[in-house]
Symmetry: C2
Subunit: 345 residues, 2 copies
């Protein structure tokens, strides 16, 4: 089923069919147009995107690299982005990096060879050295959830929520409730957004006259990380922290999955949430408001974020210089639910 078949069926040349497909069909002889239309629909013809792309170089697919779509946060982001892409005629190639720089690089190179010219990279790794060769070749990359660094190559745009502010919001909320022994729980602090969240946590503490260095923090050993493990980590952290001599009365978890792990850990010790322990999350994933108790968390405006990321990517792909290196940071919002309350006594 090629353009030739259509041409033959419509008694025109292939290029006329092509003109119909690409040029302005309006400016054709109505009769020819009708014939072509009929032929196309009768034959159920669709132009081969492969051939088309080889010829024009115009990509038809964008890439998405996430740590793991098994994490509902990334799953939701992927769904949003796919919707944005589709609305613009693009398809979405999905890659799970497990936050491994090597895999990220390999993926991105494969994509380049695949003819993909734009990718949304949800890396949050501080170092993006591994993708600059591709950037140089002309691949448009928009990073997501990653604070821009001075050392970043120019032309790398980033879309993310302000993680510092988000964590501050959560911590300040806890402080306002009267908590003073607040712990920070995270996986390894190897990603930028996690570090930023930790920074926000510290900032809020300082502002309240507390010493962040005194605040218990629990960080997973290096290399432990996988998105599917983060909940397990939260659980261990909670168990460990709550059995200390002066256990925290509140925990700021690095994300919702981690917070759920904290829930599980607290429960295994018979602690009541929020009665004996307040917990905050980050992300506001689907299940946050369904949890027991519903989770107080920092919401990421995923729909807006993915839309911005896609817009930025399109601009970068079309070589729009105004898109060059323009990062966008959105302000997150605290969603207060039932997992936080005043500290006991």
């Amino acid at each position: 089923m090629t353009i030739h078949d259509v041409a033959e069926a419509a008694n025109v040349s292939p290029s006329t069919v092509s003109n119909f497909l690409n040029g302005r069909p309006e400016r054709m002889n109505p009769k020819t147009r009708r014939r072509i239309e009929n032929a196309i629909s009768k034959l159920g013809y669709r132009p081969s995107k492969v051939a088309r792309q080889l010829r024009t170089g115009h990509p038809t697919t964008i890439g998405l690299v996430v740590p793991s779509v098994a994490n509902p946060f990334w799953g939701t982001f992927a769904r949003h982005l796919e919707r944005n892409a589709l609305a613009d005629g693009f398809h979405l190639l999905l890659c799970n990096s497990q936050r491994d720089p090597g895999r990220e690089r390999e993926y991105v190179e494969q994509m380049w060879a695949d003819g993909i010219r734009g990718v949304v990279l949800c890396s949050s790794l501080p170092d993006v050295e591994h993708v600059v060769p591709l950037l140089d070749k002309g691949l448009a990359i928009v990073t997501f959830d990653r604070t821009p660094q001075a050392s970043d190559p120019p032309g790398l745009a980033n879309i993310s929520v302000d993680n510092v502010v988000g964590a501050e919001l959560a911590t300040t909320h806890l402080l306002g409730l009267g908590h003073t022994r607040i712990a920070f729980v995270s996986g390894t602090l190897d990603s930028m957004n996690r570090r930023a969240r930790y920074r926000g946590f510290c900032l809020a503490l300082e502002r309240a006259g507390l010493d962040p260095a005194q605040a218990p923090t629990w960080e997973a050993p290096e290399g432990t990380y996988g998105d599917r493990d983060i909940a397990e980590l939260g659980k261990q952290a909670a168990i460990e922290l709550l059995q200390r001599e002066h256990p925290p009365t509140a925990i700021v978890a690095v994300n919702d999955l981690c917070a759920f792990g904290v829930f599980a850990g607290a429960r295994s010790l018979g602690r009541d949430i929020p009665g004996q322990l307040s917990v905050t999350g980050f992300d506001d994933i689907v299940l946050a408001d369904l949890a027991t108790p519903p989770l107080t968390t920092v919401r990421q405006p995923l729909s807006d974020l993915s839309e911005a990321a896609f817009a930025q990517l399109r601009a970068a792909m079309s070589g729009d210089p105004s898109a060059h290196g323009r990062s966008l940071t959105m302000r997150p919002e605290l969603v207060v639910r039932a997992s936080t309350s005043a500290p006991p006594d």
Copy 2:
């Protein structure tokens, strides 16, 4: 960066480079081979998959259509499938159908035009009429989580868990605990797996001498469905059911997300789980064991399922006749956790 550049750098013809890439590099003059290898690595050359596919017709990507990756179940499945695909050199194109047959068809047609020749369709719609034209053209389709129908086109393979058995397992477990007033809660019963689960529920009841027609069931109004709403539905259902005159002492939820909704509904009414209400789910998503209380549910062996789906797809794509219409049904496993116990009194 084309094959010509490499050829030039290595002082050979393009076709020799191609031979090196595809034919047996062993059977070449070691010197030429070395030169080509050097040229390739120096230039960082990767063959264009687009051109390659146009020429050979060999696809490099497979498609995945899921209702929504925002649902952790599908997200997890997508991650597994991507892994399987990658191990075989394939990439994964992701599509979210929202269970809309029209979108499914459109996606599948787009994919065909994109040069994709194999797709895993997570449809569970009873009717697959909308994709038979593509099947006829030669697209390999493996459906997932969908019981084969007599009316199915031949050549359509399906991989799924035995949903009837799964629901029976859950219901029988509840029965064994002493429950007699057990409700079934679902979204609209428009999908095959949901119907199958309902059937399993009824079967278990009958075997225990109970009349399924007497069992309270709650089904969402037609068209309400979106995967993101199912939890909300579960919540409404629980609230409604628990306020009846003779409320159920146990609820079989159609999946885990729905069960979490039931949790939320019960909680809003101040009911204790499992003290006053036992709840079972289906799927065993990541968060099932982290919930409060941990959810008793029916586990789908997702890793095995996705592996089987991919294997089947590969076989179908390579025209292996033994793959033709061979469906595989795996037995699910009941995972007993803390959301179920003996009924009150």
